[in-house]
Amino acid sequence: MGMYLYCIVPAAHRPSSGLAGLDGGAVRAVDAGRLAAWVSTSPARPEPSPDSVRQHHAVVAGAASETITPVPVRFGEWFATEGSLLVRLREREQDYLRLLEHVAGAAEFGLRMLAAEPAGEAGAVRAAPAPGTERPAGGRAFMESLARRYAVRDAAAEQAERVGAELRAALSGRIRDERFEVGVTGRGSVNLVHLIEHADADLYREAVRVARRQFEDVRFLLSGPWPPYSFVA
């Protein structure tokens, strides 16, 4: 019987009794040197669905404690045998130990931002189709459409950089790590992701509230705390 992998934790960290994974399967720990993998029995690689994604995440979230933060595994990691899983874990043991240390005692927060609409461009930008679906009338129209899209993206990135700088200044070294992604919507969208210690979570939320007031023309979506999915990929 195969096994489905949810996350990697320090050895001897055990799931609580009754913790269920995909399709209600009991979650157990498989030790591999200084690591343990949380798995459940599964006859085949599962199909993704909203429910299976939620079940996967519930196990990863269940592995988190004040001091231990799991290394989340991406959805779909299935092994035909326990031996094949152990081989993979031993091959990258040092990488996983380094990641466990990096994320210990911390959680991920996502700050998704929509930039202000450029003056006089809102209609044109909002009407811009998704990448790959544009059917401009001619070469010049295509280049103008592309230029607008890049301008929106660059403006959104600059605005998010300013928000990020304000947060870093307000939190004075309490942001352990940061990721920055620029989206491809017709309206500029930027995702700023921070790794924050549990003890600093309220300070972080307050800093975001202040930034929200300071940057009135930016729309914010704050989510978290999450297991550190974005800091182990």
Binding site: L5, I8, E47, P48, P50, V53, R54, H56, H57, V60, V71, P72, V73, R74, F75, G76, E77, F79, L85, R88, L89, R92, Y96, L99, G110, R112, L114, G183, V184, T185, R187, S189, R219, L221, S223, W226, Y229, S230, V232, A233
Partner: protein, 61 residues
């Protein structure tokens, strides 16, 4: 934000993380259904949620 919108956004954020983030152990995971790359789908869901956020924000007093 209305509960229904909040739930939609939360699912999109979750899908984006669980399908497109996290450590790869085998390096061979390919997730697709009926030929659709679900990682791409997850990203699209998040982009969709951004538009939802925009609508929700526009309705704020």
């Amino acid at each position: 934000m209305q509960p229904a919108l909040e739930s939609e956004v939360a699912l999109a954020e979750l899908v984006n993380r669980v399908l497109d983030r996290g450590v790869l152990v085998t390096g061979e995971v390919t997730i697709s259904v009926a030929g659709v790359d679900l990682i791409y789908l997850g990203i699209q869901l998040v982009l969709s949620s951004v538009e939802t956020l925009e609508r929700a924000s526009a309705g704020r007093p």
